[in-house]
Symmetry: C2
Subunit: 354 residues, 2 copies
């Protein structure tokens, strides 16, 4: 605490991202990075952009990147917003659309309450059902809007598209915004993007960090009606006019244009996920049905902290959340088949005498 901080700085509880170890080599299954490298076309595009023109400001309209998204998703360019990762887009969206009580799941991306506090927005965490699914009817109540990931994180469970759209329809009548955080969408859930012309209040937020293997490039995009995109731009241009550098813009456009490469690696991730889930269930783990690039698992007689620590000792990093309902669960990113074999081997050792 410092005498120089204002009330906001004093009261915030900032988000804590997953560990990024610098000293030791881990099998890193803790921050949902893609185990496969980015498309070679991305690397090429970035190297091409690394030249004397770095002395000039980037395109504030992010035209090349937004055009690529527009073509790939069949939407207008003015229905696309480009941001520094989906985190930045979410921060802008909270700043643009909400001011009274908003809704999001109690077990979800732990950045949501932090954004709400940053902008001084009251919020109401809505309990997941016992099976960790989101109950759509809980969101069809008066509110100032809602946000949830689909599939949800850290559970990995997808909500059927019909349910998502029914919430959007309810909120549209009240002219409230529904943010659908589609960070993990490429791994199984159905996207709302084909429906944004019907539901002007849906903002679909995407990141290139997971499905495009570009966590290190800090790029994301949102798709929604022109007026939602314009709202995001108003906040961005009151914050930092250029949040994407020339290298990120070129690399992101190249990634969006190379869907063939990414479809292939993400199919591998999904297949490894299904194989891993089956083996884990076979040795007694409770594994939630995942549509993401991670699994959310628990073992009946061992607490989460213990499994986490034993895996860490063996050089395997997974994510553990010290939160009441999920403290016995671990979120395990899907790595390569080789990574997962090592992970499964250690899981067997840890659990075999229980």
């Amino acid at each position: 605490m410092s005498v120089y901080w204002n009330v906001r700085a004093k009261n915030l509880s900032p988000y804590v991202p997953g560990e990024q170890p610098k000293d030791r080599q881990f099998i890193k299954l803790n921050t949902n990075e893609n185990p496969y490298p980015p498309s070679p076309k991305v690397i090429e595009a970035v190297k091409e952009a690394a030249g004397d023109r770095l002395r000039l400001y980037p395109d504030p309209e992010c035209t090349e990147f937004r055009e690529a998204v527009s073509k790939r998703y069949g939407v207008k360019i003015d229905q696309v917003f480009a941001g520094n990762g989906s985190d930045e887009i979410l921060a802008f969206a909270f700043g643009a659309f909400f001011e009274k009580t908003i809704l999001f799941p109690d077990i979800s991306y732990s950045f949501y309450p932090v954004y709400a506090d940053l902008w001084d927005i009251p919020y109401c965490p809505v309990s997941l059902k016992n099976d960790f699914t989101i109950k759509a009817s809980d969101y069809k109540v008066p509110s100032d809007g809602a946000v949830f990931p689909n599939p949800n994180a850290p559970t990995g469970i997808a909500m059927p598209l019909g349910d998502v759209l029914s919430i959007a329809e309810f909120m549209e009548k009240q002219k409230k915004v529904l943010i659908v955080d589609e960070a993990y969408n490429a791994f199984g859930a159905q996207s709302v993007v084909p429906h944004i012309n019907k539901y002007k209040n849906i903002l679909a937020v995407h990141t290139l960090s997971k499905s495009a293997s570009l966590a290190g490039l800090r790029t994301g995009f949102a798709i929604g009606s022109e007026e939602l995109i314009e709202g995001l731009k108003r906040i961005r241009d009151s914050f930092n006019s250029y949040t994407l550098d020339r290298l990120a813009l070129s690399g992101a456009a190249a990634a969006i244009n190379d869907s063939r490469y990414y479809d292939e690696i993400n199919k591998k991730v999904i297949s490894t996920r299904e194989r891993t889930a089956e083996i884990l269930r076979g040795i007694g783990f409770n594994v939630l049905p995942s549509s993401a690039n991670f699994l959310f698992i628990s073992f009946p007689k061992i607490d989460g902290t213990e499994i986490y620590s034993k895996l860490r000792e063996k050089g395997i990093l997974v994510r553990h959340f010290k939160k009441e309902r999920i403290k016995d669960y671990l979120r395990v990113t899907i790595g390569t088949d080789e990574d997962m074999d090592k992970f499964i081997k250690e899981c067997k050792v840890i659990t075999e005498n229980h």
Copy 2:
């Protein structure tokens, strides 16, 4: 205006950056970019970072970049904050340190009132003196803090270090923060950085966009006491944990480490500025004394819009602000000697019959 926007989004008047033309080749003297390319070591570092590791999140601590700043400026690493350009750092600083009325010059960086509105901070623009200098005593009044660039923009006029420190000293007694925006500092003004251990309330904000020829890389840093840096981190980590990508982090560290290259190109910019100022004065222009990489000029009998338009017709872009006291002035970025010769030639044509 949209029914989905909150009061903030409706009321904001976002910052409008200088034009970044895409269609036509201009001599671009409108956004204070450095006319010389970035250090070859920066390009090399970026290309080196463009590889498979882009699939992994960047270092959230920005260690390599902050260490480079720490060594170059002789401060502790915990006295350094890394950001996505100085604009992002200023946005965080407004969010962390102010809540009541803050002070900044009426003629200054036009993003300051926008940041204040974004965070709902009242502000009081303080008039520059008739000669466009900042009067230090105007800032030695009760307030919630202050911000100004040194040298000021768009005037280019530097404030003597003693005056800056006297304001900091006054504000320190009230435990209020003074942000000194040193974006253009490398071109002449004296920096407050050597004094941050004495004045715990000074935050010096730097960008690599101008003096390091890296407007396209979106990097900046702030230097101040550990508690000010911690305050910035609290806001950043409630907004977006990773605002600098792997490429930007590597390039920025390489730039900071190659001060020899940058000292040389910036000396050339200063020498071109002095030569240009002298010639412009010789043909009747009023040229404010600049310590920046731009000149702020007017011509007695022709209004600013007219000179701006005539230059634009000839393929030369400068910046014109439609603001009462300065509407007859133009801000002209210092380009290469060749650029400035073309600019001077057109200025002579425009003014010769007056």
